[in-house]
Every structure is written in C-alpha cells, then in structure tokens.
C-alpha cells in the first residue's frame, strides 16, 4: 500500500462519517498512514455540517447513521449543489441496495465487510483530484499509447491487436494509471457485473492483456499489487 499511496495527491482530504467508533478510528488511522488528511464525524448531522463547510475530496459515508441516515445526508448535499464524490459503506450488500445508494447520489458503493485496500483504491479513483486523463482522447503510460477514438493501441513502435474487451480493460486501467484498481472494480466497470465470482476470472483476463502489452518488452507496465489488485504505471515514476 505504501508504494501506491502518495504518488498523486499527497494531501487528499477525506471525511469519514461512521458511527461505529472502532471501525471509524481504524479508517482514520489507515488513511493517515498512507498520507491523507482524514476527519471523522460520528453522526449524520455532524457529518452534514462538516461536509458542507470543509473542502473534502471524498466523503466516505456509512449508510446507517444516528440522527440522519447516510442516504438522506447525500440527498441534502446534492440538493445544495455540493458535488463532492461520495462512497457509501453499507452492511446491505445486495444489488438493489447498491442501486438505491447510487440513485440517492452516491458515486460508489462498497458493502461491508470490505478490505482497506479495496476502499483505498476506490477512494483514490473517486477523488476529484484524480480526474486526470479522463477527458483526453489519448492515454499514455510510458511508451504505451491508447487512442480512444480510433481504438488503436501501440507500444513504442509496435501496433498491438486487442480484443474489444481487452481494449476496454486496458482503457480503464490507463484511465486510472498510477492508481490501484481492484478485481471487483474491474468486474463492475469493465464487465458491469456486481457479483463475486468464486474463481480468478479477472486474473486470467489480466494475464492475457499482460501477455499482449508487456511480453517481449524490457519494462513491464502492468503490475500486480499484492492483496489489492492491479496498477498500470511506468515503473520509474
């Protein structure tokens, strides 16, 4: 984790709105360890006023909170024009709960129990500091180049032939270059599935992609981050 964190936004500000003291303290500590500023609100009302006044990059909101529940908090923020990205944490992990959360104005939804690596990866992708190359038509990592309009991919001078799904996988990875993306994030964003496969399907897709973009090149770009997921980046940076 330490390898991944402070690369892009050294002072990312995160507000955690969570009533369970122990898990909240754990999150604050963990975020601070990777170099972020993390504040804590213990209930919905406090969370709402802190989110309105503070300039946060990401809000991590528990769905069930005292005084004001998470979804209504997000609704209030959005009504007032506050567009801060919100990640909802919830013990309710079913598909329809997820959809409800996203409809209420959340940007991502993570069911409990979660691993911190997953949460961190999602928060980094959500953060508005990291809009990065999202709007560009060409993504570049090292000598790897992906043209979103013509669907051309090239590494150095070599043109690479990718299957449509491999292209989308690479596109997503490159859009979030330098950030960890987890297997679940890939399954959700590239395949649009929200279930948990019992097998290592994603790993197989990644290794195919890797064999196309890294095989035969001196410097690998697609890295496996142990216990978290994958990241595409130029090794030197």
């Amino acid at each position: 984790m330490t390898a991944t964190a402070p690369v892009i936004a050294p002072q990312m500000r995160i507000l955690i709105i969570e009533d369970d003291r122990e898990s909240a303290d754990y999150l604050v500590k963990a975020f601070r360890e990777v170099g972020y500023v993390a504040d804590l609100a213990g209930d919905g009302e406090e969370g709402l006023s802190m989110a309105e006044s503070g300039d946060y990059d990401v809000l991590v909101v528990d769905r069930m909170l005292p005084k004001r529940d998470g979804l209504s908090l997000i609704g209030m923020l959005r009504d007032k024009g506050n567009r801060t990205p919100v990640l909802i944490l919830s013990a309710l992990g079913q598909v329809d709960d997820r959809i409800k959360g996203l409809r209420a104005g959340g940007d991502d939804y993570l069911p409990k129990p979660y691993s911190f690596a997953e949460l961190l990866a999602r928060v980094e992708v959500l953060s508005r500091r990291n809009v990065g190359p999202a709007e560009e038509t060409t993504y570049r990592v090292g000598d790897l180049e992906l043209d979103r309009l013509s669907h051309r991919v090239a590494r150095g001078k070599d043109e690479l032939t990718l299957q449509p799904r491999e292209f989308r996988l690479l596109e997503y990875l490159m859009k979030h270059a330098g950030q960890v993306v987890t297997r679940t994030m890939l399954l959700e964003n590239v395949w649009d599935y929200h279930f948990d496969p019992q097998t290592n399907v994603i790993d197989v897709h990644i290794s195919r992609l890797r064999s196309k973009i890294d095989k035969g090149f001196e410097r690998p770009l697609l890295h496996t981050i142990r216990g978290a997921g994958y990241m595409i980046r130029d090794g030197i940076r």
């Binding site: 079913q94 329809d96 959809i99 129990p113 279930f195 496969p197 097998t199 290592n200 197989v204």
Partner: protein, 490 residues
C-alpha cells in the same frame, strides 16, 4: 365457560335464534292474515244471504201482507239451521220468529249490528252472538229482523288460534333443538381444530386438523390449513437442515482460522511466518464472507425480496457476456467454452440471472473435465468434443432455456436433487475449492423468476438448464421499458 354457555355463544346457535324469531313472526302473520280474511269472508257471506232474504221477505210482505209475512217467517224459522227471524209491532211486541230474547235496543235502530240473542226453542239459557239486520217494513211500523248466528265464525277463529299456538310452539321447539344440534356439531369440530392448533403451537408440527368427508366450508378450511401446515413444516425442516449445514460449513473454516491464528501466536517465528499466517487468515475470512453473501443472496431470492430491479432483456446477451468473461478461464483449464444463442426474451433480474449462469459455467469448468478420454464417444451426440463446454440460450415455446453442457462425469440421477441443496458438495467435488452454494443459488434464482433449474444427463456429462418463463411478446406490464428490445419474435 360452561359447556352450555359455550354452546349458546356459538355463531350457529345465534343464527338459529334469529331465524327462529323470523320464522315465528312469519307464521304468526300468515295465520293472522288467514284468520282476518276468513272472518271477512264469513261476514260478507252472511250479509249477502241476509240482504237477499230481507228483500225476498219484504217483497212477500208487499204482495201478501202481514199474513203472508207470518206464514213465510214461521215456515222458515222452523227449518233446521235456520237464520234468525223476528217481527215486532210498532210498540215493540214480538209477534213472529224464532228469537226468544234480544239485547235491549236492537230493534230500535235499523241496519246492521252484532248482538247477543237467545232462540225460542233452545233449552239452555245461553246467549249467542249473531249478526243481524233490522228493517222497517213499509206501512204500519212493523219491524223485521233477520240475522245469522256467528258461532261458526267463532269456532273457525278458535281453530286458527289453536293452530297458531301449536305451530309456533313446534317451530320454537324444533328451532331450538336444531340450533343446539347444529351448534354442537360445529362446536365439536371447532374444538377439535382448536385442540390440534394448540398442540401445533406447543411445538408438534406433525399434527393435522381433522377433515370430514362432507366437503363443506369447515372441511375446506381445515384442508387449506393443513396445506399451510405442510408448507410450514417443510420450511421448518429446511430451516433446520440449513442451520445444521451453516453450523457445519461455517464452523469448519472458522475453526481453521482460529487454529492458524493460535498456531502463529504460540510458535515464535520470524516476521515472514506471521505475515504468511495473517495472509492466510484474511484469505479464509474472505472465503467466509463470500459464503455469507451467497447465503444472503439465496435467502433473498427464495423469499422473493429480489423482485425489484426486473427489466426486459435478451437471455442471449447474458449468455454472450458470461461466455466472454469465462472464456479465458476455461482455456487456461484446457477446455474450450462455446456459445450457441438465439433471441430469447426474458423479464427478470439480469444481475441475478447472470450470476446463476456464471455459477453453472464455473461448475462446468471446475468439475466438467472428462475423467478419461473416450475417443469412441467423440461426436456421438452433439458436435461437442470431450473438452468443450457449451453455453446455450434459446427460446422454446413460452420458455427460455439457458443451459451449460459439459463432458465431465456428470451427476448420477439419484443425486441431482440433492446436489441443488445448500452446502451440498458431492464426493467427487470435495477436493475442489467452493462453497457448495453455486447450484442452490442458481436454483433459487430460477425459482424467483417462476422457473426451475434442471440437471440432466448429456451422455456423457452434465447439462444444467435454467428454465425460465419467456417474456410474452407485447406483454403489457413490459410495454413501456421494452421499447429498446428488438422484436424479432416470429
């Protein structure tokens, strides 16, 4: 409450009382109407005959004078069952007729009246009642009385009154007896049902309500309640099985987890050892979380809670998506994943159906490897060689079939039903990783959509089919959101 108190409180008895009252009222009014009408008829008859006789006798008097009158009166008065006749002089003297005495003043007023009288020839001194008409004969002030005894009318009245008394008595007695009989019968059956219900509530779920042979409403109620009890019992048995299975299948990994943590604590190792132990712990707990999620998903699908988020889509697209996702994995396992689809419109929860199909494909990849190469089998049934897995989506009549066929050892027919139960892992699959929930989830998803999961023999291998009801073309509940679905249906 006493037995009698219970009896008279029953609905049947109360209804009986109400009916009884109504019937008595009806009988009484019927009789009253009858009596009143009869009385009117008799009176009418009397007045008609008396009026006729008066005019006849007046005519005789007019023609033959007093003498003729006397003769006629005397003649008629002597007939058996004769009417009453009386002729008086202007001074009030009785000069002819069969009336011995009259209530005073009767002869003073002309016209109709009811009066007491006594006959001349009667031995007893009793007065009777009669309806009489007094007329003044023209010329001379003589008055003529003609009347009819009302005994007949009185007797008839008596008969009617008696009939009324008896019939009401009979109605009341029979009614109450019938009410008690019916109420007791109903009460006995209700008591039997209550008794059974209490036994069931006390924990004996095998009890059933007694069902009679008459097929009446109580029998129907009882058999419906029995069907409900049947279902509850099945659910309870299922629940018990599930909790036993959960206890076993969750406690085993929990024990492993605990043992590892303990081992790491007691053995003084280097940091790498601790790290490895912790990593295994996380892995194990991730597995537990997955199992929990699968269980929750099954529970939601089974209870029908996941009925939200239904939309219309093509099952072929689902099959294509899953094929695309799992193709590299199958290839890594030395198999090929093939796809054969045609337009198959569905209405349902796309996510759940995708997951169900994914589970079937994962199973096929895990367990569908041929046990030994059998070159003779090649191409015998479908054009599917031994290392192929086929995903198929098609419509058949009003059903959509989503099937996964492998060339593995298959599941013996007797074990197929068992294989779909929660946590069941057939002996052949024990060595492979997995929670034993894949088929249960697929089956629960199929049930949620009003379909089923069928396991069959692919000769050799297993064919697992999600049989789901197809979306009817132009079905109204889908009319709005299905506009984007191309209607390719023939």
């Amino acid at each position: 409450m006493t037995a009698f108190g219970k009896l008279i409180r029953t609905t049947a008895f109360r209804l009986t009382l109400v009916y009884l009252f109504l019937f008595a009222l009806f009988a009484a009014s019927l009789l009253a109407y009858f009596a009143w009408n009869t009385r009117r008829m008799i009176t009418e008859q009397i007045t008609t005959t008396v009026s006729a006789e008066i005019s006849e006798i007046s005519e005789i008097y007019g023609r033959r004078g007093l003498r003729g009158l006397f003769v006629t009166i005397e003649n008629r008065a002597l007939r058996p069952g004769a009417n009453l006749y009386l002729v008086t002089t202007p001074t009030g003297q009785m000069i002819a007729g069969n009336v011995g005495s009259l209530a005073p003043g009767v002869m003073g007023t002309t016209g109709w009246s009811e009066t007491a009288y006594r006959r001349l020839d009667e031995e007893d001194n009793a007065y009777h009642r009669a309806l009489v008409n007094v007329t003044e004969l023209s010329g001379g002030g003589f008055r003529l009385l003609i009347g009819r005894d009302l005994e007949e009318r009185r007797r008839l009245f008596g008969i009617v009154a008696k009939a009324a008394q008896w019939s009401i008595l009979v109605v009341v007695v029979l009614g109450i007896a019938g009410g008690i009989f019916v109420a007791r019968r109903v009460l006995q059956r209700i008591d039997a049902m209550t008794g059974t219900a209490q036994r069931i509530m006390a924990g004996d779920l095998s009890g059933r309500l007694p069902v009679g042979r008459s097929g009446d409403e109580l029998d129907r109620l009882a058999s419906n309640l029995n069907a409900m009890l049947e279902r509850i019992e099945a659910l309870m048995v299922g629940l018990k099985e599930v909790s036993d299975n959960i206890a076993h299948d969750l406690k085993t990994p929990l024990t492993r987890l605990r043992n590892r943590a303990e081992e790491a604590l007691t053995k003084s190792g280097c940091e790498a050892d601790y790290r490895a132990a912790l990593e295994r712990t996380i892995e194990e707990s991730d597995g537990l979380i997955r199992t929990f999620n699968a269980l929750l998903m099954i529970a939601r699908a089974e209870s029908g809670q996941a009925r939200g988020n239904m939309d219309s889509f093509d099952a072929a697209a689902v099959a294509e998506g899953i094929h695309e996702l799992y193709e590299p994995l199958a290839e890594d396992g030395g198999m090929t994943l093939r796809l054969k689809t045609s337009f198959a419109p569905l209405h349902g929860n796309r996510e759940l159906i995708s997951q169900a199909l994914a589970n079937l494909v994962e199973n096929a990849i895990k367990y569908g490897k041929p046990t030994e190469p059998k070159p003779t089998e090649k191409g015998s049934v479908v054009s599917l060689d031994a290392k192929q897995i086929l995903i198929e989506a098609r419509r058949e009549g009003d059903q959509v079939l989503l099937s996964v066929t492998d060339r593995g050892p298959g599941i013996p027919e007797g074990e197929r039903k068992h294989a779909m139960e929660r946590f069941v892992r057939l002996d052949t699959s024990r060595s492979q990783p997995g929670s034993g929930l894949g088929l249960s989830l697929a089956s629960a998803v199929a049930t949620l959509h009003g379909g089923e999961l069928r396991l069959g023999d692919a000769h050799p291998g297993l064919i697992a089919t999600l049989v789901l009801p197809a979306r009817a073309a132009g079905s109204d509940r889908l009319a709005a959101p299905s506009a984007d679905v191309p209607q390719k249906v023939a």
